[in-house]
Symmetry: C2
Subunit: 106 residues, 2 copies
């Protein structure tokens, strides 16, 4: 996987798919954070919110890694989790799409 | 200060004053957290909220220290910041109240 070449056109497709998934994930996160904050009743809920935000931030930092060497795996995870569809990856060469699809089923 | 003796009655007064200040501080914190969350518009605001919560938690851990050896200084800070009034400290012996009042003016 680390030897794959990415054409300029593929890089544009990849960046768009990546940004779409990340943007939607962050929007969903904002909605959930507002909802969790609105439900806070006692101090422990406050520190639960803090912990939850810290975990979400670390998870996003870990999962959204745009290095081309790991991008097929990143896309495979996003496909598996429903953050991306195969249509979002149209424009990547067949070899990469097959790789991503196979990895998403693991 | 470290040599002060606390009678049983004084310990009750101290605990009540301490819990009152902490309780009010935490209630205010919950209100502000809800308000900050409601104003979130973009991802950076989310991580600002996380940082703010972490700082508040550490500040509260640091300031609300119930060891009798430091309690007069804790009360002095709470008095200075308007979290407690001198009335809340009624029932402590005069020596402690004078010490707390003097320290609160530093």
């Amino acid at each position: 996987m680390y030897e794959l070449k990415w054409s300029h056109a593929e890089k544009i497709v990849a960046r768009r798919a990546f940004d779409k998934a990340l943007g939607e994930e962050l929007e969903a996160l904002i909605r959930e954070a507002k909802s969790r904050a609105a439900r806070i009743e006692e101090p422990l809920d406050l520190w639960d919110l803090e912990n939850w935000l810290t975990e979400r931030r670390r998870e996003i930092d870990r999962r959204y890694d745009y290095r081309y060497s790991v991008l097929p795996l990143v896309f495979a995870h996003l496909l598996r989790d429903g953050r991306l569809t195969e249509d979002d990856l149209n424009g990547l060469e067949q070899e990469k799409r097959d790789l991503i699809r196979r990895a998403s089923a693991l």
